[in-house]
Symmetry: C2
Subunit: 82 residues, 2 copies
């Protein structure tokens, strides 16, 4: 058996989301005039060996700090699923 | 009041996820030997004017088909939140 970790990474509030602005502008340009704003984030799903959810959470937090998120401008949220 | 649409976009099963493989390899290289595989997807949050959730869902599906997802290789999932 293995665990699956799902990491959501997004820009911190106050950081200009140029990709999101581009998406919102493009949608408005396509005629979707109801669109007010958009934000773009990443989701990383990781398959991990092992059964210990608490240990997995700690490891994934380390992964976020060292590789998955740029913590200067990005925040992250971790879910551990079976 | 407004609605928020959350669109999850990911590669279809069977499509090689090079970004995910790169993440998995990088994590293993950093010493996270429990990592077996990784997949990377996108999340797009859209703020929309209006109150009609069903109409919003239909519009967001159109957005996915025309701009947000490359439906040849990507699948998408839509959530409408308040």
């Amino acid at each position: 058996m293995a665990l699956k970790a799902i990491v959501h990474v997004g820009l911190k509030p106050g950081v200009l989301d140029v990709q999101g602005k581009a998406v919102a502008n493009a949608l408005q340009g396509l005629g979707f005039v109801d669109v007010e704003d958009a934000r773009v984030g990443k989701v990383i799903e990781i398959d991990m060996a092992g059964q210990d959810r608490a240990a997995a959470y700690d490891k994934v937090r380390e992964m976020c700090e060292s590789l998955l998120a740029n913590t200067v401008i990005e925040s992250y949220r971790i879910e551990i699923a079976q």
